[in-house]
Symmetry: C3
Amino acid sequence: MSTFAPPYFGSDYYPEDWPAEQLSEDIAKMKEAGFNVARIAEFAWSRMEPSDGVFEFGWLHRVVDELGKAGIATILGTPTATPPVWLLRKYPGVTKVLEQGNSLEHGGRRHCCFRNPIYLRYCLRIAEKMAQEFGNDPNVIGWQIDNEVYVHDRGCFCPVCAEQFRRHLEKKFNGDIDALNRAWNLTVFSQEYSSFDEINPPRNAWTNPHINQEWILFQQHAVIEFVHAQADVLHRYVGSVPVGTDTMPYNGLDYAELSSRLDIAEFNHYNTPNTLWEVILWFDFVRNYRNRPFWNTETQTTWNGSHIISQTLKPEGYCTANSWLPIALGGEANLYWLWRTHWGGHELMHGAVLAASGRPMHTFGEVQEISRGLRKAADFINGTRVVSDIAVHYPSRSLNLFLVQGIHKEFHYTRCFADSFYRPLLDECCRPDLLETSQDFSQHKLLVSPYVCYLEPELAKRILDWVANGGIWIVGPMTDIRDEHGAKFQDRPLGCLEELLNVRWCYSVPDAELTLKCAWKDGSPFQSGVWNELYEANGDGVLAQITQSPHSALLGKAVLLERKIGRGHVFLLGTTPSREMMRKVYERALDLAGIPYGNGDGENIVVVPRQGEKLSGQFLVEFAGQGGIVTLPKPGHDLLTGEDFDTTVPLAPYQVRVIQF
Amino acid sequence: MSTFAPPYFGSDYYPEDWPAEQLSEDIAKMKEAGFNVARIAEFAWSRMEPSDGVFEFGWLHRVVDELGKAGIATILGTPTATPPVWLLRKYPGVTKVLEQGNSLEHGGRRHCCFRNPIYLRYCLRIAEKMAQEFGNDPNVIGWQIDNEVYVHDRGCFCPVCAEQFRRHLEKKFNGDIDALNRAWNLTVFSQEYSSFDEINPPRNAWTNPHINQEWILFQQHAVIEFVHAQADVLHRYVGSVPVGTDTMPYNGLDYAELSSRLDIAEFNHYNTPNTLWEVILWFDFVRNYRNRPFWNTETQTTWNGSHIISQTLKPEGYCTANSWLPIALGGEANLYWLWRTHWGGHELMHGAVLAASGRPMHTFGEVQEISRGLRKAADFINGTRVVSDIAVHYPSRSLNLFLVQGIHKEFHYTRCFADSFYRPLLDECCRPDLLETSQDFSQHKLLVSPYVCYLEPELAKRILDWVANGGIWIVGPMTDIRDEHGAKFQDRPLGCLEELLNVRWCYSVPDAELTLKCAWKDGSPFQSGVWNELYEANGDGVLAQITQSPHSALLGKAVLLERKIGRGHVFLLGTTPSREMMRKVYERALDLAGIPYGNGDGENIVVVPRQGEKLSGQFLVEFAGQGGIVTLPKPGHDLLTGEDFDTTVPLAPYQVRVIQF
Amino acid sequence: MSTFAPPYFGSDYYPEDWPAEQLSEDIAKMKEAGFNVARIAEFAWSRMEPSDGVFEFGWLHRVVDELGKAGIATILGTPTATPPVWLLRKYPGVTKVLEQGNSLEHGGRRHCCFRNPIYLRYCLRIAEKMAQEFGNDPNVIGWQIDNEVYVHDRGCFCPVCAEQFRRHLEKKFNGDIDALNRAWNLTVFSQEYSSFDEINPPRNAWTNPHINQEWILFQQHAVIEFVHAQADVLHRYVGSVPVGTDTMPYNGLDYAELSSRLDIAEFNHYNTPNTLWEVILWFDFVRNYRNRPFWNTETQTTWNGSHIISQTLKPEGYCTANSWLPIALGGEANLYWLWRTHWGGHELMHGAVLAASGRPMHTFGEVQEISRGLRKAADFINGTRVVSDIAVHYPSRSLNLFLVQGIHKEFHYTRCFADSFYRPLLDECCRPDLLETSQDFSQHKLLVSPYVCYLEPELAKRILDWVANGGIWIVGPMTDIRDEHGAKFQDRPLGCLEELLNVRWCYSVPDAELTLKCAWKDGSPFQSGVWNELYEANGDGVLAQITQSPHSALLGKAVLLERKIGRGHVFLLGTTPSREMMRKVYERALDLAGIPYGNGDGENIVVVPRQGEKLSGQFLVEFAGQGGIVTLPKPGHDLLTGEDFDTTVPLAPYQVRVIQF
């Protein structure tokens, strides 16, 4: 019977790195910091299984028990990122093979092949042993599988991966090698295969985008299967205690799929003052992995210093705003990394709550104050959820496509997504849900689909039905331009949009030098972007067109079209927009959708509407160190300061307010 | 009996990448574009020989026949850059081995060793089969061997290359290893060999410039032999149909030697507005490979996008000027790459005549207009040749020498050649022939030899005889400073120039910071360059000397000397000149040679005098998008616009005029 | 009975690279240059041992004899950096293996493993043979072992090194693998070993700083052992003739240890005008390797051009100042590299005394003038030694620690040492001795210990005793923060300084953006640096503190503390100082120590006090090309110009004065 309750506030803890007798001192200091959770064991395989099949959990039970007695819950990590050296020496073939041919070695972490059956067997065994030991422990409130799983570089090129890749392709193409040849247009450069056995992983060659895409998805799927296999083992023992895996702000994996067999989203980030707004983007994404408040499992108190310190000395309040953001945006936990800076081993320069010496780092006072605030706002945090009427597609598939076959070297998908599509919504004080294309948007009023190169036919149909029922869809640019293999269509420029929207694509042209000029329907000019898909409307609906061009063939072509379909509207966007242009597009769409916007200094304050069965209100977080104001929709009370506000609320730099209506 | 006639205008065509039934549609669109030639089959090995020894040419005959019926001639490419996967799987040793040790893999192109006897056997077999099939086909007007052959990286390090390198050296040094030791000064660092068998290809070491030069020439020679071997096979079957290989704007190979067993020069380039003038340089070089109009086999209509688009949106007219330049400068064909952008496979973002969807790209109207112009000017194009009185040495040997042992890190041979020696001639509206040192200059009035590090004794003698008979020679800097092995002379600073020109070399000094200052004989100052060879004249003839120096030893030394020899003149240049300085040197030399110059805005208009048995005139091409004027030597008629001009001809940005006198 | 006497002036000489009959010409030109020493044979292994066990020294005797007859002494180099190809072909395993796995090849130099027993055996044999031949030769005045020995890249990863590394660790940790696990905190990432046999050299992994430090020290020790083994062989034959090895300006090795079994320091450098002051730093370091005047064995006359020229055309006088600096700062020899530029082989573009053609380079007149000056000042040079009251720690251990685990990416140890600690002393016209931490400072009045991360307990005790007896110690920042393994302390921020100095460390914070502001005790403001260790004083003694901070926790903390201990003083510095700040700290300490300072334009003139039994005076060298003045402590006479000065001495740009009192 766990007596622990969110919001959770704490840090990692590596008791294995410190003298056993230091435990009580550390626990006392955690209490002093106001902590109620610790995340442990994620890299302690060699302590839990010092030699093959010999398990030692006594030390870990003692830590979990003592923490529990002090009111500090435990999140347990499986240590599979750090296999002991005895495993590698016994089975040298388990290590990852790099593209250049060399095998990784013991000494760091994540150096084994996700697909190696021997490594996998040992991983599942240690996970199962841990689950057997701690599955019923009331002090354990959650599980973390491995740590920051990704495909690094281009994945593993070991013989296991090579063979499984051939079999994967054979299965995907139903054993028909000519189907693969056709799908990938392998007559180009005489690449055609006559057998799946002839295929090698793509390296040491100028390889084509289709095999590269398939390879990277295949490698990413190995990660997902690896996590799922562990989740299945844990689920057999842990009851309703949630199982997750802590991920990072990089959308290379399909997190919707990754999360499908997990219970909770766990998330690590180390953003800095200049990019703090981008972590808001991530929370708007992570919140939707699972229908349950997520845990922010790692962030810094001061600075990242894994290899060496490169971060700035952050101003007072930064730690506060950074720590509250996950709570405001739908999480129920914030944990720091590190509790105490390592005294030896890797990552010596990473900031922490305490210095290695046990003395507090300079942000300790902020940490204590955050803890007090969380307790004041606990009922509101637990009793409300984030409210959003806007969905934005942010598919990992697009990132993968742009990585294997970019369109223009000045176009960077994640950068342009963040700057041109996400940031303007933030500016407007809007709260979007970011989604993989497989996720549900039926309850949203506005859907935005930029750079969705592969627009699955099923998805297009789903969207159009929703539009017909009153949805507002902003689509493009670079959407519906590739098939599932990353190829173009042979007989049409777009998969289905021309027909669905009754428009005609004319030209797509790069313009990194911004020589094209555009105008809105009312004549006011604006600047188009680095990539331009130019249309002719069949009939009316042109909202913006090219008015100046170095080449006359482009003049007068449309870059923004509006279409009314059933009870809904579609905006077809043909240019990579500026932040300013996109605000104008959004404002028109938000008006149509009846979504309020613009009620504050969105450039540096994030506004998060919250609604519960009994409670409602808003989180307000100033994230840029500048201060500003927000206009409330109704009078409210700041749970942190005790102040009451009628409409206008001022925020100091990095101030956090929890406004309850 | 071919009925096709130049000028040829068209593009590549990859029918193997598209549905067979699309052929007629593509041909109709080619006709619409005004095309009369298509270049096909260059990468279609797997379609022509789907498995070892099984040949299928039916599909290709159909394409060639249908094109021919429509009045479109065919240039056929041998597909040897793209061996099928069955060849690699059967003989894994045929692939190229990189310096780092890894072998290239199937999936791209040019991944086999040029010297591998098995690969070579298969290449010659497919070439021969094609020649047997199409050698007499009246629709085939030319052959292209392989595609863009080069030594990439530092060549192939496979065992075949290693062994042949040893035997090559043994032959070159007549089996005398001590001769090699002496020629390369191998006492430096105790490098001496006692046997040719001890020699490995130069890698994994700080290798000396002599073995590096020998290696790179050896690798380049493999390319040349590979092309020649195919040419020999084709020549047995193709009668008078010309055989070539399409090369790129990179002078790393000795193209004079490469072309010696070919019939025609084929050339690919993808220059952009900022560097369009450099392709003029290349045409002045390529024109002289063979005594026959060359073919520009590849250029873009819009942009290069092989891996990703990085080029600008080009202004209207650019495609026109770019397409006419090869015709103006001595070619008789211009072909685009691509006809239709690839729908799958590699190079998806490359611009074309048509988009993959079959719709025209935005330059289609320009393409049609170019076609109309070519028909109007056909008789003039076919009936005249480029006239030039100026020869400029541009030896691949120099580039190779500078690559293996540079002189100063701020000195880049091709850059400085183009900017300091070629561009000033362009500025002066002069038309030079660029030549390898082995080529004939006896009919030219002015010869320029900059950076000819290795001045072969035979060449020096040939030049001096020509000077004695009235030739004007500009020589230096960095000329005659190395022997055939890339070594310096042990007992003299220059091989022969001091004695021949009766001067004394004093010092060679770098000056990247441009601290030295010079003056002409009349006292007017100018700036010398990054490298300075300083002389004392024996007697008179100093045209320019050092007037300011951070070191007094350099003061008063000559940087430009003039010598009268027999009926001719020699200008010895000791500094890497600026564009401005070199114009002054050229003007003096052109006056002496009686060559007219300066009759127009050479900075952005190229003037190409043409002379035929019956016709004469000039091509004028504005290549910088600025417009300008040219003064004609006599009244003329613009074959494109129908206008008549007495003397002054205005050109709009990117305008092309074909002036017939 | 050698008749040669310092100061020595000359160059390398590679007679093996030139026709034998050229010897007399070269000797005549050396005499013309004013040379009395030549350094030969360093790369001539293949000439001395053309095949395994066959030795030929006749040619070398002839050279040494002829030089000697002409009054030119010889320094002989062992050629072990350039093993002949027959050795590699017979024993392929002797070559160095790179981290990436490839073995180095013949063709350059330093391509064998320092630890390989076969290579080592051959090295000692050739060294012994040379010693037997020339050990008693009166013309040989010194020996040079190998050439510019270092650990390149991260050393050698061959099987010999791997196995010796395991045994090295086993010995260091007394066979107790758990001691290693504990010392390196290997529970981090489950890195723990159960046997020394499980350890591999650190590569192909994200390895920890402790194994990286141990590896790099292990590799460096191989270099030292290699040199010592040769020294032991030579010492058996060469009597009192000094044996050394020529090193470079890079403190990656422990030169105190390297020099411990050598007789003389030999030093090579190629500094340029912008960095000439840094070579003064090096001479202040090199002077203390051995208690005997060092030899500057290599410097350029004009420019370095090993692979290609990248250096500037240096102004007149630069060669003069550069050549005198080693003499002024405690050396007794200056030799150029090269005598005559190579005509073939490697390093063709390197400047020399003569061009390959045998003609003088443009600095030849300066060289002759330097020779004349050295003869004038010979008695003063030989009869005086450099006087210094200041010691500064410059431990190679610190560089190694910062390389394996940096603190902040904007902090570069050698750069910050030079700019912030050395240069201000130069500015003050002070003459420091730079020392490894193992060296003696008991006779100095002021000791400076910046960035001494690992402050050995023995050293701390030695320093504190010396302070108690009146020494003045400036300590910090980044001092005493690591143990011998490069780990932090588990229970305290500093090893011993808090207790010894009665202070309390509060926080260490990065501040690359320089947002913190400080003030001296008197309120005058200054800027702190990129790294800040902030203290609270117990009691008085705060000299400077934080007055502005983006985070309030840091306000008021001390960055500079003063402590009186016994008859001495300690200054504890907590920030990486600016040049200006450090001058103020130095001035206070120099006043306390009673050391004079500030008597001239130290920014561009180096002042070197010299004292002998009979003679005393100062060397003055203008090193920045600007000119300036120095105030003498007493009247003096310039031995070079014959001028007499009472107090103020003017110096022209690059002027050298030898002032005898």
